[in-house]
Symmetry: C2
Subunit: 154 residues, 2 copies
DNA sequence: CTGAAATACTCAGTGCCCTGATTAATCCGC
DNA sequence: GCGGATTAATCAGGGCACTGAGTATTTCAG
């Protein structure tokens, strides 16, 4: 009977939270475009012409995953992908007209969905909710990125 | 410039939180056994002899995912899977000796990891953190399970 | 200018997560 | 008892997420 109480495990809670969000997104926002796809599209709307790696960095996706997401957005005709004439390693990405249209439509629906999702919390609690999650996520991401250890070698 | 600020989107934050957790788990707990696998093993330690569907319900995994996770735990020799003699549709699951040993070892490491993960928050904030996430996740899960609409048909 | 290092992207492999369709077994009304 | 509904598990298929290895291009030291 050495079992552990998972409701006090942040990782388990994070997974459940994400699954719950996934389901709600599917019913309230889109069955075609996923939340990560929208995030990437949103990054391209904010910064048209970025390369793949940067786009991934903006939304927190690694090199492999961002490649897949971009390939799907490309197949749907939501973005253009052209070689950077200045640097033949890069692809420059920007939303198509259709991509902009889809982004606008989904932005509205996403806002509605977030309201429903966060309805159990008061306005103050929502602020705290964002703050706490952001702090934990930022700190954990920082653990993997030594963030330029300036001088001290050891 | 109609781009949206994703740092106020709970779904996006939930994904980043989960990714951060995944990385930390990999470095601090195990590269072999994943967090969902540990969750299932933990459920079997708590309730030896449950069937697959129930185990999935306990940890929040759907029928397809729980089948994959159980198959992996089986391959590693961490659980036994036998037909229920009472009901030939079910498989009864219980941890092996090795499964119990692995569970004990990982439970310790997981506790250590959770401390690191939550270190950016004070003790009070950690309590709030759990409470808020749990409330949002529970509510969203409730939206999909009409939870036995007793009498009212409409 | 040339070869080594760094960088952007791709590919192969593993695992998580969902839906819809299918199969096998049990349950239940008659 | 028998046939239809329900239930447990599987299978096929799509998408997200990571690592390690490989390719092409650019950069930079000498």
């Amino acid at each position: 009977m050495a079992a552990v109480d998972l409701t006090t495990h942040p990782g388990h809670l994070a997974r459940r939270l994400q699954q719950a969000h996934y389901l709600l997104w599917n019913t309230m926002v889109s069955e075609e475009i996923t939340s990560p796809q929208f995030a990437v599209l949103n990054a391209l709307v904010a910064e048209p012409g970025v390369d793949q790696r940067t786009a991934g960095e903006r939304v927190g996706l690694d090199r492999s995953t961002i490649a897949e997401v971009i390939s799907r957005l490309g197949r749907r005709g939501l973005l253009d992908k052209v070689r950077d004439p200045q640097d033949g390693r890069r692809f420059l990405l920007r939303p198509t007209e259709e991509g902009l249209r889809v982004h606008r439509k989904l932005a509205v629906r996403t806002a509605r969905m977030n309201q429903i999702f966060l309805a159990p919390l008061s306005a103050d609690e929502q602020t705290v909710f964002f703050d706490l999650i952001r702090r934990v996520a930022d700190a954990a991401e920082g653990l993997r990125n030594p963030a330029e250890p300036a001088t001290a070698p050891n």
